[in-house]
């Protein structure tokens, strides 16, 4: 449907100029004055004509003539020479263009005012420009106390050079950056991992740079630890590690590891496998025997000996508690040196204690007799000592057998017996320990060295792997030698820790940039 609208005939007298800022106030009534408002929006209406004074030869006063376009008016000019038809003045109306300009100016003014107010007022400024929540470690009462201790600002200035300054200081800091604001080439090629001015603030509290390798390049703290990412600091990503470990030139210098981009791709085999490392512990232990041996008796509760009996998780569940004789071995391996008198047991943990105990056997038997309220205590002691003498000879021979017997081999005969279904009685120190002759008194037993953790540079959490059977990673049932390091190869980990396995496999899952604290017993 189309209705006929008023024809837009071109009217030279009333030519509309949409680009002009002001239009005549009478335009809305359909009779705008031809002159229109001036550029500043002032009405320029005067009269329909400007009369012209004509003087004939010989005349002194002359006559005013109407000069109105379209023909002279009937009345003609007034005697004083002014037009008799004045044009009514109007209030010129601003066009939309002017209103748009005003709106633009208002937005500019509002933006500048808001920025000046918010950036000029320190408490508001810190809140306003903060690009994201600061981590819990760098906010709150604890950080405020540290800031006071280290003479630091408690707001943005604690880390940022411009943090304690107003707009002028911020502009000044921005103009003095390195690389500069417009130095695009340098900016593109800049080493963002290098130490920055912000690191100087970090080092006020975190003294020193505790890195995983002494010759590792200096890395900016903020390269890996991105702030303003929330209450918990954002995790380090493979990109951070790739900065060195993905760079062949850097790794060639370090001579430590080859180029590594991702655990699932080009991570090398664990060094304990490639270098055929052996457990240096001198303690003699056979995992296979303990887990599958037919002679291994049931535990007091009736259950079968398994991994969890010795390897119990610590409080956090990440690692296992250290295996100790008292908790894990004594239940089967008692220290009964005299099968006829099971109440007496050798002390564990010190060669000197064992020697002292053996050299005071008469007192040990006497104490036992007193404890058992025997009437003939001295006779009991004498009999026991004579039995031992008959079996082992002198006291020196007994001591030597206790230290050096190993039940299955060695120069001396067994002290007790391992046969039968009963729990093992004491076969001799050398059954488990490395025992050496010593010139100074008692023989010397090499202290077992059992590290609480292997692959100390890596993070691991047993609790997160609780759903997997121990044997899936630790091939203990095929290990007969203490020297075996029963850790899984890389491939076992990659089954899950890879894109195919679907479990996180970033560097930071296992490694930490900073030197871990080695805990050794």
């Amino acid at each position: 449907m189309s209705e006929q609208l008023p024809a837009p005939d071109f009217d030279a007298q009333n030519y509309a100029r949409p680009n002009q800022n002001w239009i005549c106030g009478h335009a809305g009534e359909g009779r705008p004055c031809p002159l229109g408002p001036d550029a500043k929006g002032r009405c320029r209406a005067t009269a329909e004509c400007r009369p012209l004074l004509e003087t004939q030869p010989g005349e002194t006063k002359g006559r005013w003539r109407c000069t109105r376009s379209g023909g002279a008016c009937e009345s003609g000019p007034l005697p004083d020479g002014s037009c008799c038809r004045p044009i009514a003045r109007c209030s010129p109306v601003p066009t939309l263009r002017v209103w748009r300009g005003r709106a633009t100016l208002a937005v500019i003014a509002a933006s500048c005012a808001a920025l000046l107010i918010l950036l000029g007022n320190p408490p508001w400024r810190n809140h306003f420009i903060n690009p994201g929540e600061i981590s819990g470690a760098h906010s709150g009462a604890a950080f405020a106390a540290l800031a006071v201790t280290n003479h630091m600002s408690q707001n943005c200035g604690a880390c940022h050079v411009a943090g304690d300054h107003g707009p002028n200081g911020m502009v000044n800091a921005a103009l003095h950056t390195d690389p500069g604001m417009l130095d695009l080439k340098k900016l593109a090629l800049a080493n963002t991992a290098g130490p920055t001015a912000i690191d100087e603030s970090c080092l006020k509290c975190h003294a020193g740079r505790n890195v995983h390798q002494p010759d590792a390049p200096q890395i900016s703290c903020s390269f890996c630890h991105a702030e303003h990412q929330g209450k918990v600091m954002a995790a380090t990503t493979d990109v951070n590690c790739d900065f060195c470990h993905g760079d062949g030139a850097k790794m060639a210098v370090s001579r430590m590891t080859p180029v590594i981009h991702h655990f699932a791709d080009d991570h090398p085999q664990f060094r304990f496998i490639t270098e055929k490392m052996r457990d240096p512990d001198t303690l003699k232990f056979n995992h296979e025997l303990h887990l599958t041996g037919a002679t291994i008796p049931k535990l007091p509760g009736g259950q079968k000996l398994d991994c969890a009996f010795c390897h119990q998780p610590d409080a956090a569940g990440a690692f296992t508690r250290p295996v100790t004789f008292e908790k894990n071995c004594r239940v089967c391996h008692s220290l009964q040196f005299d099968p006829e008198t099971p109440e007496l047991m050798l002390p564990h943990g010190s060669e000197e204690f064992v020697s002292a105990y053996l050299r005071s056997l008469s007192k040990q038997y006497l104490d036992l007799a007193m404890k058992e309220n025997r009437t003939d205590a001295s006779g009991f002691v004498e009999k026991k000592l004579m039995d031992l003498q008959a079996q082992f000879g002198s006291g020196e021979d007994l001591e030597r057998r206790i230290f050096f017997s190993s039940a299955t081999f060695g120069p001396e005969a067994n002290i007790g017996t391992l046969s039968g279904s009963t729990r093992a009685v004491f076969p001799g120190c050398a059954y488990c320990h490395e025992v050496k002759n010593s010139t100074a008194g008692s023989p010397e037993i090499t202290k077992p060295v059992m590290p609480e953790r292997w692959l100390a540079q890596a993070k691991f959490n047993h609790a997160k792997h609780a759903g997997i059977a121990c044997a899936q990673c630790h091939d203990a049932i095929h290990s007969q030698d203490t020297a075996d390091i029963i850790l899984p190869p890389k491939e076992t980990c990659q089954v899950c820790h890879s894109p195919q396995g679907g479990v996180a496999s970033s560097c930071a899952e296992c490694h930490t940039y900073h030197q871990p604290q080695l805990v050794a017993r």
Partner: protein, 271 residues
């Protein structure tokens, strides 16, 4: 039309190609050091080119190419800059009051630009279907003329029809006195004018021959006024989106300048 389609095809092809290339580059280089700085400068360059289109319009005498070409560049670069904006944000929402304000300014400027593009593609076509061309600035004068004609018909010395005069006073005086039904015209609704015309038709049914002639003239004037309101509403929409787009562009530029100051002033390179 063929030229327009050719322009559209070329523009869309260029936009799709640039978007594909940029997304590929983003995937390849997003891990670069200072990547956010680089995307930021690219975004600023895009915003600069978009902004100088306004300068180009104000300097028509300079040989800076055709305004039509500039507009095409402005449109497609506007879409591309939105992609750069998302890449600069790493496709994540911003945090912090300053950055959220800045992001909202960008969204409002680009959003109003898209609304403006939609208006400029759709509304002129609609206007062409409703009467002849009307210059926006002349609409008040035309409305005044229609009002005067209607008043003369209904209330003039030779009107002599109390029924028409009463109807005019009750229903038409307000209608002719100013622009009406802005939102309904934008929504393409003709319900108000149809109701008015229906009432006039009812009046005509009971009028004598003289009155009938006047009513028919009034009906024509009502239709013309409604068409005028329709033109005003659509032409106003074609102009008003710029009230968001242009002023907020300047706000965006001011906030962007401070964003650059803050980014560099608070960067690790600040000394």
């Amino acid at each position: 039309m063929i030229r327009f389609r050719r322009q559209l095809c070329f523009g869309l092809f260029a936009l799709v190609a640039a978007t594909t290339a940029t997304l590929w580059l983003n995937g390849k280089f997003h891990a670069l050091p200072n990547y956010a700085f680089l995307t930021g400068w690219a975004l600023l360059a895009g915003m600069f080119v978009l902004t100088i289109y306004n300068v180009r319009k104000k300097l028509p005498f300079l040989p800076l190419g055709k305004s039509e070409t500039w507009l095409q560049i402005h449109i497609y670069l506007g879409f591309f800059t939105t992609l750069l904006f998302l890449i600069h944000l790493n496709f994540r929402p911003p945090h912090g009051w300053f950055e959220i304000t800045l992001a909202w300014l960008f969204v409002l400027v680009s959003g109003s630009g898209m609304v403006g593009l939609f208006f400029s593609r759709v509304l002129p076509r609609r206007l062409a279907t409703r009467g002849g061309e009307v210059i926006f600035e002349k609409i008040p004068a035309l409305r005044h003329t229609l009002k005067a004609e209607a008043e003369k018909l209904a209330l003039g010395a030779d009107a002599k029809s109390p029924a028409i005069a009463e109807f005019y006073a009750k229903r038409l005086a307000d209608f002719f006195s100013g622009p009406r039904n802005l939102w309904l015209h934008l929504a393409e609704s003709r319900r108000p004018v149809s109701a008015l015309l229906s009432e006039l038709e009812d009046l005509r049914r009971f009028a004598n021959d003289v009155e009938r002639g006047k009513i028919e003239n009034l009906i024509a004037l009502v239709r013309q006024k409604d068409g005028l309101d329709y033109h005003r509403a659509l032409q106003l929409a074609l102009r008003l989106w710029l009230f968001v787009h242009i002023p907020l562009t300047y706000g965006l530029l001011i906030f962007t300048a401070w964003h650059i100051v803050l980014v560099f002033g608070f960067s690790g390179g600040a000394r």
